[in-house]
Amino acid sequence: MTGDKKGWEAVQEDAGGSVRDTDGAFIDVRDLRKTFRVRRRSGLLRRTSSDVHAVDGISFTLRRGEMTGFIGPNGAGKSTTIKMLTGILSPSGGRLRVAGVDPARDRTRLVRRIGVVFGQRTTLWWDLPLRDSYGLVRRMYRIPRARYEENLARCVELLELGGLLDVPVRQLSLGQRMRGDITAALLHDPDVLYLDEPTIGLDVVSKARVREFLLRLNAERRTTVLLTTHDLSDIEHLCERVVVIDHGRLMYDGALAGLHEIGSGERTLVVDLERELPPIEGIEGARTVRTEGPRQWLTFPATASAAPLVSRIAADYPLVDLSLREPAIEDVIARMYAA
């Protein structure tokens, strides 16, 4: 493992030059826009075209080594943004820099430093066994043999791909293929990893394995990770920071914890009293929403502190036990999407 560490640090060094001067913002997105012109048939011969503003002025920056969740409802513009970050699509407007490079202009230079996983489709060769796919990746990225072997062995171990290397990709299950794809994206030690719905369709065990793997990758190699998902528990497990977009616009950018507050979420205090009593009343800022025998539920704004509330109740009522429930992240996000 120490050899591993050393190899990695050496890589850091030689990528150094251009990285260090952009260290503040490894990925820098300013007022990014992408407009698609879509043509529609209207009538027999007439065609009308309209503009779809898939990404409509998004700005954010990511520091090196940050692991960020990128979420939003269907059609929000997440995949389109990722395609611009990788250089697949060129922006219609705005400024974009990844490790100091403009992706659309210098795509071939940048792609050596990034890894991409599209959950919806594989980057592997459908008819080749995993091992051959990885062999091609090695030659395409010109990965030195020793580093390649080491990275492959590591991914195979952590993602449990051992018995699958000689199976053609088309015969892999979705979860196996996804782990295969993640490996392919990491063999060349990318500085940035973009994951577009990497956990889609995975079972609980595979999901946990992938999350665990991503956490280690980020901790040990300082790989910058940008992750889109519709499974918010992915975000809760992996990301301290979230960027939320909707209709191509930025809705929120900050700590995951902060979402609770701005999401106009309410927290819930569950109290167990000694015996069944009428609903608790007269506590300022709180409202009893439910009673069930001696148990009562009170809601109060997520921004308020629970402590004074608890002491007021304890003073006036025979309190036995209590628990505090944070608003579910799903609810917060759902409310945000609906707004």
Binding site: F36, K83, S90, T108, V111, Q120, L128
Partner: protein, 291 residues
């Protein structure tokens, strides 16, 4: 298409563009080589099935010549050309087309790649997109067409009573090579148009597969308008008609100046330049799919 390849560490100056372009082409060819080699290795794992595909390819493409032989069982000449002469045209057309089909035939699948979004993935790899597409599923079974074309060509050479000079040998070799280039350009051009019109592969087939069939027959069989079109619009006539007429000692039906018979290399180079421009434009206009 230019890919910095080995010059990765250098500052991204635009100045050394000629060297960069050359480096890019060399890297593209190398990448083509190792991708194709991988596919060859993986098909060779199933030798029996490979052998069958090869024979099938040989046989189905040879049917074209069988049709010509059947015609000659009824007539002595086609458009004034005897069987060995037609076989010469057939052989050169088949080998030239076969080379292009072997090396670049996959380009006709670009439309499908654009539609199903797999083009995205090619763009995330540090290898020129054309190399990745053309070498994908590289299939040696396509040697079947080349082999039968070469056999027919060889047979015609034993039957043609010609005085072979260094010039006519060179001309014949260049027919196959430059013809291959011209057909290759048609494949790539057709592929590039599929960036705009994803269903264009039918049109492309008319020019590639249609083109090689056209060139298997003497130009005198066809109307002047068609021959003109195949000379000035789509330069198919440079693949074999014009140089072959010279080798066979015939006049061309359009009465073009004599030097035209030697123009194939220049025409092929022009085709390559034009194709490169259209390819770049096509790639630039790519706008992915919605998922």
């Amino acid at each position: 298409m230019a890919e910095p390849g080995a010059v990765e560490r250098r500052a991204p100056g635009r100045g050394l563009s000629a060297r960069r372009a050359l480096g890019g082409v060399a890297w593209g060819l190398r990448a083509y080589g190792f991708i194709a080699a991988m596919w060859v290795r993986s098909t060779m794992a199933y030798r029996a099935s490979f052998a069958m595909m090869l024979v099938a390819n040989f046989t189905t493409t040879f049917l074209d010549f069988a049709a010509i032989m059947i015609m000659f069982s009824q007539v002595d000449a086609l458009g004034g050309f005897a069987l060995p002469e037609v076989a010469f045209l057939y052989g050169t057309s088949c080998v030239a087309f076969g080379l292009a089909d072997l090396l670049l035939g996959e380009a006709e699948r670009i439309g499908r790649r654009v539609r199903d979004g797999t083009m995205d993935i090619l763009l995330t790899r540090p290898v020129p997109v054309l190399s990745q597409i053309a070498a994908d599923r590289f299939a040696l079974r396509r040697l079947g067409r080349i082999t039968q074309g070469a056999l027919v060509l060889g047979w015609s050479l034993t039957r043609l009573e010609l005085e072979w000079t260094a010039g006519s040998v060179l001309l014949t070799v260049s027919m196959v090579l430059c013809g291959g280039l011209i057909f290759g350009c048609l494949f790539v051009l057709g592929g590039a148009f599929q960036f705009w019109a994803q269903d264009a592969s039918e049109v492309q087939n008319a020019f590639t597969y249609g083109g090689t069939t056209l060139l298997q027959y003497p130009p005198t069989v066809f109307g002047k308008e068609l021959v003109r079109g195949a000379t000035f619009v789509v330069p198919l006539a440079f693949v074999n008609w014009l140089p072959a007429l010279r080798v066979l000692g015939r006049d061309d039906p359009l009465g073009l100046p004599g030097w035209v018979d030697f123009a194939a290399p220049a025409v092929a180079l022009l085709c390559c330049a034009g194709t490169a421009l259209v390819w770049r434009a096509g790639l630039r206009s790519y706008r992915s799919t919605g998922s």
